[in-house]
Homo-oligomer: 378 residues x 2
């Protein structure tokens, strides 16, 4: 443990990077997947379980936490780590993305954005300074600058305006962040939509300001995967090799291996947890829909070779039954299955990079997904 | 382990009994509380957790399981124990109670009851023979006869008619049960409403038929506790001392200690699990409503002296937050708290009977509940 935040590169395999993000609260092995703990809980999981799956870090949502139970209350209670019983690193977003997707009556100007809560309609103001203040009250280890993420499709002018505003907010965020204790990090966020020149402008602008890590935002919002990967290539050619890179809100297992192959280190996504509450299992055979009637009589587990008890010990017939009856245990088990799969995928990725066989690993996992599920006997 | 079902009395303290119900699948230490696993899951709990809390047996609901996923399907999948990953004893009800409370278009006659499923409207017939057949397909260790439980208030004539029908069904159930493998038990159910003479008639009739254990049904359905306890006294004066006695669907911690003091050995109730999904915690300080705003800033756990991590390690403020946000983890933690409390209460009861100080124990726990919750400091 050290008081400084740093990125320690350990190995390269093509563009894929093996490394460690070092924080006073612990080391994050990268490439890393961060389970999403929106409202100070990874839905349907005990925090000890999340840790046991191999997660080094979880994500908290500033927008949700500022509304309930409020950042001030969490600070009085000792910070987000103590509150949710997760003593390991936590990354928080800026709240901006959810302000734009969930809140109502939004008004955005140079200063920031005002909005009404989707819960009780109360009026709030979010500025770059306030976002950093909230994340500081939460005690977040890795914080995000407030940015404006425009919805695609948008005109190049609109995308350019938003990224330039985001760059000015990046500077203000960095200044506001200086008040915080050492060891924490603030990341700048690359925007620029699907326009390579604007992505470059955004990345260069952030590197000029200088951050201990960089996020790539505004992707996986409906564009084709090829567009997303193209933008990652443009951006990562500019971002410094000695700083971690976080692709926000991504994604499917396939998105993750492709982005790792283009130099991304950190990921978060609601997909494994949300899918787990909607009868979907992620496995080495690809995605399996447990709602499907073909599972009703299937005594086999999802994956008898898995280390995860939820994937190895419970029959598909039982999982199917729990889902049909809308039983909590169905969501609990499938969320567990999915987070275990994502963490095992990251473990496999890290191992492969260390051995210099990332491409072979990528081909193997894709082959497994393509083959699909093993049909029941008989 | 033995192939026989038996009751092994270990100690008496007044009317309170310490004993063991011995089944081929394991020993049930009595007095016992059986968590309710309605649809083949104790809601919000992994089966391993239920076991670790000290539960020797859980209850399954025949009505729910016959509709989904059906008894035949569970039998094909290896029985209810394998299906729900609970290798320890299971008790099932007859399905009759839920037919009368959940199903529609019920028609009852001497033969049995026909009804339509509350899920899909499908037509079903339930007879004493079919109930025993279903419970046999499930592989239940302790099965219940089909009975008719009349709703109170009812006339003495109506109560008498129902108990006499239930006695005839008891005989038919016993005959049907003879086809099952050794080691399982079928209990007769005492009915008779709130009429002492009818309770006596029912208990005597069942003892004449002869069962390896007796259930007391039709209580805790809205009558005052004193009426319930009076009926238990009437019935337990008749039931043989060398057979276990199960008070169906009861109840609060206070109901349980009072009924143990009158010679009851086994209990089941949805209260701890259902209350856990509705913000209620059972503790040695009594019932605590975590929805109450006074918990919002309270950093204390529910009970720092509890062995249960959910009661000991999470702040009231966090539990309150989870409940306000309708987070699954809130239900998961409070269900855990409540089942842990119920099991620790049973453990305390058994220990007290063994030491011949049941009355002192009862006074102590009641004093704790009466004192109420410790207010927050400041």
């Amino acid at each position: 443990m050290t008081d400084a935040f740093s990125y320690n590169p350990l190995a390269r395999d093509g563009e894929a990077r093996l490394g460690e993000v070092i924080t006073p609260r612990g080391v994050v092995r990268t490439p890393a997947f961060m389970p999403v703990g929106t409202a100070a809980t990874v839905k349907g999981m005990y925090p000890s379980q999340v840790r046991e799956l191999g997660a080094d870090i979880v994500l908290g949502n500033t927008y949700h936490l500022m509304l309930r139970p409020t950042a001030e209350r969490i600070a009085e209670l000792g910070g987000l780590h103590a509150f949710m019983r997760w003593p390991h690193p936590i990354l928080t977003d800026s709240g901006g993305f959810q302000v734009m997707s969930l809140a109502s009556l939004r008004k955005l100007n140079e200063k920031g954005v005002t909005f009404r809560s989707h819960i009780d309609g109360a009026y709030h103001e979010m500025t770059p300074e306030r976002s950093v203040e909230i994340q500081g009250l939460l005690g977040s280890d890795i914080q995000m600058q407030l940015d404006e993420c425009v919805k695609l499709p948008a005109t190049a002018e609109e995308v350019a305006r938003a990224l330039r505003l985001s760059l000015r907010w990046a500077e203000r965020s960095k200044r506001a962040f200086e008040a915080q204790p050492p060891g924490r990090a603030l990341f700048g966020i690359v925007q620029g939509g699907d326009v390579p020149q604007l992505r470059e402008e955004s990345a260069r602008g952030l590197v000029d300001i200088g951050f201990p890590g960089y996020s790539i935002g505004g992707l996986a919002v409906g564009e084709p995967q090829a567009v997303m990967l193209g933008m990652i290539e443009v951006v990562n050619a500019i971002l410094p090799q000695d700083k971690p890179r976080y692709l926000m809100g991504v994604g499917t297992p396939d998105d993750i291996v492709e982005a790792v192959g283009r130099g991304v280190d950190m990921f978060d996504c609601v997909m494994p947890t949300r899918a787990g509450r909607h009868a979907q299992a992620f496995t080495r055979f690809g995605r399996i829909n447990l709602k499907n009637a073909r599972h009703a009589d299937d005594p086999r587990p999802l994956d008898e070779e898995s280390d995860c008890p939820a994937a190895r010990d419970y029959s598909r017939a039982y999982l199917h039954h729990l889902i049909r009856c809308d039983e909590m245990l169905g969501s609990m088990l499938l969320t567990w299955v999915n987070l275990a799969y994502y963490q095992s995928l990251m473990q496999g990725i890290r191992h492969a990079i260390a051995q210099g066989r990332f491409d072979a690993f990528k081909a193997e996992v894709k082959e497994g997904w393509a083959k699909g599920d093993i049909p029941p006997r008989g």
